[in-house]
């Protein structure tokens, strides 16, 4: 149990009535994780802007607070006060629901991700299945936004988003199969605990496929065709303004953080300290007490890699995009399953654990 969890359990045990205690135990961890994610998003926006500025030899936001860290709060306030324009031809109901529908799955998936040792909202045994099911709803929201705007750019952005999402969904799902095979469970906690050797060692190809596909799923550069500024003005969110527009951006940042969180959980040992089982008692203690620190550090690393890629690569073409998913990633993912299954069946090297 982690320090924070121990503290929480100690305070919880002071409450006299059993039903009250159960109710609090139901609400508090959920609220804690939700507020952590929403708080982290503001830091992520600032961090991305600073990092991309560093890549492009600029300064980035540096005025508000130390190093400009409060810039995102100011932006949130500004966007709150902006007029929310709904065009005359738009489908008003879908136009309003779409940003909410994009935002909901982004936050909801954090009820399944273990952010630390014992720090998880709910450890269900079908976590990965549920995670993938929930996260694919985002696409529906994007299509809804694109269609309801009644704008040609928006519609094209929405359709592109769906085509891209369904093409990259298949290799994404297949690349996780290898990890599940080695852990023998769909629960994310079990997967993290099974990684005495990090899964990246046993599943290098799986990780590469997973990373590329999740980049595509969250519509980040080089796969940001749904909102390609140079072709589609702003894609599916062209007609959006005010806080509805901000909602799409919040969702995108949450989803990018989720990408990092899932890379960490599935391939880089989750909350575990690197080589904790080789370092003996110190390593195990570091894992047990400070899991959330390692988790956030690893996740921030992957977020920074995504920003780095954004600063480095140009956007791909639609035909290249589709061909890459179906003709390269899908066979590679199947190959990964074949090789993993054979190695795991005969118990070769690191696969035997």
């Amino acid at each position: 149990m982690e320090v924070l969890v121990q503290l929480y359990t100690a305070i919880l045990s002071l409450i006299p009535f059993e039903p009250v205690r159960n109710a609090i135990n139901m609400l508090v961890p959920t609220l804690a994780i939700a507020s952590m994610v929403l708080g982290i998003v503001f830091i992520l926006i600032w961090w991305e802007r600073r990092l991309i500025a560093f890549v492009q030899a600029r300064l980035g936001p540096n005025r508000l607070g130390p190093g400009g860290i409060f810039q995102s709060f100011a932006d949130a306030l500004k966007v709150m006060l902006k007029e929310d324009i709904v065009t005359a031809d738009a489908d008003v109901i879908l136009f309003t629901i779409a940003p909410i529908l994009v935002f909901v799955p982004g936050l909801l998936v954090y009820s399944l991700v273990p952010v630390g040792n014992g720090m998880i909202v709910s450890n269900v045994n079908v976590a990965i299945f549920l995670f993938l099911a929930i996260s694919s709803i985002t696409t529906l929201g994007i299509l809804m936004a694109g269609w309801s705007s009644n704008n040609k750019y928006s519609l094209m952005g929405g359709i592109r988003a769906v085509a891209q999402a369904i093409s990259y969904e298949i290799p994404l799902l297949l690349s996780i199969v290898g990890v599940i095979m080695l852990a023998g469970s769909l629960s994310m906690v079990d997967i993290v605990q099974s990684q005495n050797v990090w899964n990246i060692v046993r599943q290098p190809l799986g990780f590469i496929i997973f990373f590329i596909c999740s980049l595509s799923e969250v519509n980040r550069i080089p796969f940001d065709l749904p909102e390609a500024e140079s072709e589609l003005v702003s894609g599916y969110n062209t007609e959006y303004s005010g806080f509805k527009f901000a909602m799409f951006f919040l969702a995108e940042y949450i989803n990018t953080f989720t990408l990092g969180a899932l890379c960490t959980t599935l391939f880089f040992g989750g909350w575990r300290f690197p080589f904790d089982n080789l370092l003996g008692d110190i390593g195990l203690q570091l894992t047990a007490q400070l899991g959330i620190v390692w988790f956030i550090l690893k996740t921030m690393f992957f977020f920074s890699v995504v920003v780095w890629i954004r600063g480095t690569l140009p956007r791909v073409r639609t035909d290249q995009l589709m061909a890459f998913a179906w003709k390269y990633l899908l066979p590679a993912a199947l190959l990964n399953i074949f090789v993993t299954s054979i190695f795991a069946a005969i118990g070769f090297g690191v696969f035997s654990r």
């Binding site: 159960n22 135990n25 139901m26 961890p29 959920t30 994780i33 939700a34 966007v79 709150m80 006060l81 902006k82 007029e83 929310d84 324009i85 031809d89 309003t96 909410i100 935002f103 909901v104 799955p105 982004g106 936050l107 909801l108 954090y110 009820s111 909202v121 709910s122 269900v124 705007s149 009644n150 704008n151 928006s154 519609l155 359709i159 769906v162 085509a163 369904i166 093409s167 969904e169 298949i170 799902l173 297949l174 199969v177 290898g178 599940i180 095979m181 469970s185 003005v233 007609e239 806080f243 909602m247 639609t318 035909d319 061909a323 899908l330 199947l334 399953i337 299954s341 795991a344 069946a345």
Partner: protein
């Protein structure tokens, strides 16, 4: 039951946070509606027709292939979970299953369903 209760509460939170933000923003924002402001954006000219049109058939073919492979993946997940208990037998079974699918995949590839024209 408790674990799904918590997911339910998270779902409630995920709905209530953007709703509150949108309602709050509604009361804080100015509203000056003019005819040109609520016009659909189309590079500055008046919009030509509706955007609710038929679109490229390509997308439909990709969606069809997606459905086939999505179902395949759903079958792979229980197999992967039970893999450790089954051993080499599971490997052979899955080889057969995937081979049948790969034949269909090869056919789609040969027919040019995966190419974007």
């Amino acid at each position: 039951m408790e674990s799904f209760g918590r997911i339910g509460f998270m779902l409630f939170l995920a709905f209530i946070v953007p709703t509150i933000a949108l309602v709050l923003s509604r009361f804080l924002q100015p509203r000056f509606v003019t005819a040109s402001k609520i016009q659909t954006y189309e590079c500055g000219i008046k919009p030509y027709g509706s955007a609710w049109v038929q679109f490229n058939i390509r997308y439909y073919i990709y969606a069809l292939i997606f459905v086939v492979f999505d179902i395949e993946t759903v079958f792979l997940y229980p197999w992967a979970v039970a893999f450790k208990g089954l051993g080499l037998f599971a490997v052979i079974e899955m080889f057969l299953f995937l081979t049948i699918l790969l034949v269909g995949f090869a056919y789609a590839w040969k027919k040019g369903a995966l190419d974007w024209h």
